[in-house]
Amino acid sequence: MDFGFTKEQESFRQEVRDFLEKKIECGAFEIISNGWLENSSQEFSKEMSERGWIGMTWPKEYGGQERTYMDRAILMEEMLTCQAPIAYHFLADRQVGPAIIHFGNDDHKKEYLPKIINAEISMVLGLSEPNAGSDLVSVKTYAKEEGDFFILNGQKVWTTGAHRADYIWMIVRTDLDAPKHKGISEFILDLKTPGVTVRPIINIAGVHSFNEVFFEDVKVPKENLVGVKNRGFYQLMAQVDYERAGLERLMQNYPVFVNLVEYVKKEKRNGQPLSKDPMVRNTLAELEVEYQIGRLFCYQVAWTLTQGRIPNYEAALCKAYCTQYEQRLSDAATRILGLYGQLMPGSKWAPMNGEAADSYLWSVSYTLQGGSLEVLKNIVATRGLGLPVAKK
């Protein structure tokens, strides 16, 4: 056991910090909650690419750096600390690239991996459908084989960032007769393909982040199928542990915590800093302990991946735990701010530029996205602890 970082890791962290400090100094981006997911900047991603920070864990033969998942976690921790605008490459880097490496053929690898690594394309995930949220095997979007093509019809929903991306990585049904989970395949699709329509969904924070994506007789070349036909669900299950593992599930509203701690130190109540209020102290210390526990969970997953092992229940547990922490944080922040906790970004008198209230709205989604809290707990219990799966 060892809870320290190596010298190389420390110096890598410093390198990332230096880079980010310079970017912040020159006003490249603002430190704002959810910025990592909402702020897409091809320019910024290209700069990261130049430093080898996209696809950094991938094999060298695909242009990667073969660095460890620990290094990637360090990179992410720094990026998330200041909520750097990494949305352009984030999903492709975290998930699509590794999926292509695992399941794609040589053409896929040649076609997409360099573009991902060079920040030339942006990708999103098309998983959920109106009647397939937590229950992904129920996807109905159907790809019918016709000659060299699949003809795609159906609809995705909650597709984050589809309005600014180039490609969508999706699961669709390719066999209507097989058992649900044995008739799903994975595809990659250019969002500019005729027949694809992206419609915005405005979330309760008033932001366009989600989309509906409609497919009407979309001609998809057969080579866009990735991996084995009708094995898509199993392929996907192997991928989601990467999705669930990251510090991005702990730090989505990290600036709220940092700013809150600073705020209570400065803000006076009854002639002394708000930080001297015992309820405030207890609440913030509790959040700090919970945060540090979450951080250890995240690094534990990164360490497991670094060992070349796939996390068992740990990734699901980590996400379940961390997103609940983020919710408690936003709730506590609004409470500690009192009446000011109501004020939204841009409002006069809003402390922390309204991030507390804003994050309280966003936090609803934290325990839903990428597997609801309940589904994740089921996974921990059944896959992790070996409890029996209930008959349905």
Binding site: V157, I201, I202, I204, T334, R335, Y340, K348, G354, A357
Partner: protein
């Protein structure tokens, strides 16, 4: 003890509910919140015609002299509908202090038009310290020839932009005590009054009201000089219980929407509500909602009966603040992503719960009051 509504109360509840369902559906709420005014003058007029503004005011001013308990039923239905309107600020924050502290001329002048729906009122109490206690009041009222000159900054003043009068709580004597505070009826259009909107989580209209050498005549003083805080203290339990009344309705509606959704929505090949996790969420929500209802109506009943109920009022707000919030959080979790969209109605309640939690003291604040009452 009687936990049921009387026949009259049931009729009141039902008729209010019908009006709200017809006139204030969620689409109306969302539209109105986005509107700069933040209310519908047409609906406002209807509410006046129904006698709502005068519900707890004496018949001599055109009111119907209803009980505060029955009034809470009205508020519950407004909360259930998430009604955006200056009702709370006009009737509770504005009307009650006038009724309590005003002289006969002031009451004759202001209450009938308020009851008729011709007057919108509000109260400017909170200042940058963000408190509801005398030590949070720093705005100065300086004596002048004609009366007083007001200076200061008020925050979180609801509906200041549409109010005819703003009741301003200001200091006529230096210090931090209750003694030395006076209430002033300030014409919202008076020179020196500047209202700047604040953007709030629930989209309700709250304002910064800057007072810069605002002149107020002697006639516009509400109650006795230096003794204004007594008026606030008198009405404050009603303010809190009225807030709780709205919370009861909001919590109840959130529960209803969630149960309906759990019954309809299919997942994993069966209704969501089959899942034990969802069932237990819903069971927890019922405890929260029923708790809100009983503890609130207990306080409202005591207020109606004129019984001392400092502790019961604090308990109501302490419980409702946490419980309504929990209910909306669990409701969101059951709804999943659909509830996170602006298009859906659930967020109205999620936001509303946070608003009501923070207004008039959260559970920390009110538990401290309960502790006080317990002799701790």
């Amino acid at each position: 003890m009687d936990f049921g509504l009387s026949e009259e109360q049931e009729i009141l509840r039902k008729s209010t509910c019908n009006v709200m369902e017809k006139e204030c559906p969620p689409a109306f709420v969302k539209e109105t919140i986005k509107d700069e005014k933040g209310y519908s003058p047409e609906l406002w007029r209807k509410m006046a015609e129904l006698g709502w503004m005068g519900f707890i005011f004496p018949e001599s001013y055109g009111g119907i002299d209803g009980s505060f308990l029955d009034f809470t039923i009205l508020l519950e239905e407004m909360g259930r509908a998430c009604l955006p309107s200056p009702f709370f600020s006009t009737v509770i924050l504005g009307g009650l202090p006038i009724l309590e502290g005003g002289n006969e001329e002031q009451k004759d002048e202001l209450l009938p038009p308020m009851i008729n729906g011709d007057l919108i009122l509000t109260l400017a109490i909170t200042e940058p310290p963000g408190k509801y206690t005398p030590d949070g009041i720093g705005s100065r009222a300086t004596k002048s020839e004609k009366g007083y000159i007001l200076d200061g900054t008020k925050l979180f003043v609801p509906n200041a932009h549409i109010a005819d009068y703003i009741i301003v709580v200001a200091r006529t004597k230096d210090g931090v005590d209750a003694d030395g505070i006076t209430l002033f009826l300030v014409d919202a259009k008076a020179r020196g009054v500047t209202c700047t909107p604040l953007l709030t989580i629930a989209g309700d209209k709250q304002f910064e009201v800057a007072l810069d050498k605002v002149e107020v005549t002697h006639e516009r003083i509400l109650g006795d000089i230096d003794k204004g805080w007594h008026i606030i203290e008198k009405i404050w339990p009603k303010v809190i219980v009225a807030a709780c009344g709205e919370m009861v309705g909001g919590a109840q509606q959130t529960l209803k929407m969630t149960i309906d959704y759990a019954k309809e929505r299919e997942q994993f090949g069966r209704p969501l509500g089959c899942l034990q996790a969802v069932q237990h969420f819903c069971a927890d929500m019922v405890a929260d909602v029923d708790g809100c209802r009983y503890i609130t109506y207990q306080a409202a009943w005591m207020l109606s009966e004129g019984l001392s109920c400092v502790k019961e009022v604090a308990m109501a707000k302490a419980w409702c603040s946490d419980a309504f919030k929990r209910v909306t959080k669990q409701g969101q979790q059951v709804h999943g992503a659909i509830g996170f969209t602006e298009e859906h109605d659930l967020h109205l309640y999620y936001k509303s719960a946070k608003k009501w939690e923070l207004l008039y003291g959260d559970s920390w604040f009110h538990r401290e009051a309960v502790a006080e009452q317990m002799g701790l």
